[in-house]
Symmetry: C2
Subunit: 248 residues, 2 copies
Amino acid sequence: MRNICLKITYEGTRYQGWQRQETSDNTIQGKFEGLLSRMCGEEITIQGSGRTDAGVHAMGQIANFHTHSDMGTEDMLFYMNQYLPEDIAVVEVMEVPERFHSRLNAKGKRYSYRIWNSSIPNVFFRKFAHTVEEQLDLKTMQEAASYLLGEHDFKSFTSTKKGKKSTVRRIDRIDIQKEGDLITFTFEGNGFLYHMIRILVGTLLEVGLGERSADSIPDIMGAKKREMAGMLVPGKGLILEEVYYETK
Amino acid sequence: MRNICLKITYEGTRYQGWQRQETSDNTIQGKFEGLLSRMCGEEITIQGSGRTDAGVHAMGQIANFHTHSDMGTEDMLFYMNQYLPEDIAVVEVMEVPERFHSRLNAKGKRYSYRIWNSSIPNVFFRKFAHTVEEQLDLKTMQEAASYLLGEHDFKSFTSTKKGKKSTVRRIDRIDIQKEGDLITFTFEGNGFLYHMIRILVGTLLEVGLGERSADSIPDIMGAKKREMAGMLVPGKGLILEEVYYETK
């Protein structure tokens, strides 16, 4: 069996997220499985590097599928982009070793989250940024972010899913940059829990508004309770930028 | 009568351009006149600095209207942004001298035009850039653009409207910059004719594809015939960035 890896980009606005759902076919995974099954002439299941939630976008989602088809990778690229809706596109098609698994082999990910920090609406970012009208203090948010770097138990920063799975993750980089009224948060780490980035951003925003102090972060982290952390910000501000693998 | 000046931003995708039409109320001007008439309690006519065509966007369109209303400018800003559709916003409201006229007093304008230069679709720019799959030669396009600078008769670069009005305009700056696969053309000048920028870009693209030479530009200009110039590129790649006035 061949193993085909795709680099995918999408605007998530119209979709209920990556993961196929039984009650709705309005998911990115669902769109791909329908299309790939037609393309390959056999039923295809596609494995993503991770889920993205409703409204979340991707610049570089990675996914792979196994097939008996002997179609060339260039032809696959052309075929898929011809039939995909205009808010989903395949950027790259690669043949990978049969054992490659886009989720299990992922070594890290980079996400960005955008805040439109103004009381004047920006029509161009309305689907790609969350608006905060009150001025945010960049410096205290950066200070707060520094407490999040490294390996920690991020249990306070994930939406409750009872389970025994580890909530320890490592964050390697948090950048907070401002260009005009647009603030971009960039997160890089070995993996992120369900809702983790959106809760981290929500917490940092509360610091930036003066509602929490920067040095309250270690206490929130230590408590391991979701209710200690800040609000969950909307999915539309989030972009999965890149997935990292050891060899590619 | 008070004279109120607005700085307006919009995504033009859903609209049939700036100018009010009798057969359709799906224009930016039409949306504003309806809203302003309700806001001011009298019939309002709004004057734009110039028309933008269907699908064309604006970061800084300028428009003004006269009113007897004594509503404060801050309240107007808030009122308008509350009721405008999410793809139109007012950025600034200023009280201006009664004689100020947004079109007649405009001294210059800046526009940008975006090309997505790749065979891989970009879902994020699909409404803001025109796609050219073949690689474009930036250097020859820049060379061709240099012939357009200064004061010239741009009759070859406007869609035919018979009339005696002057087709002489002055272009002060043409920048062509590439960032990844995105090429941004920036035009600054004292005014632009109907379709002028979109025909200029279309002509420059044909140079960039090797279909015309850079030094063919003076001949096209000298001919004063629309059919000598290149294709009209789609409106969606165009943004009215800024309108310049002597005093503001």
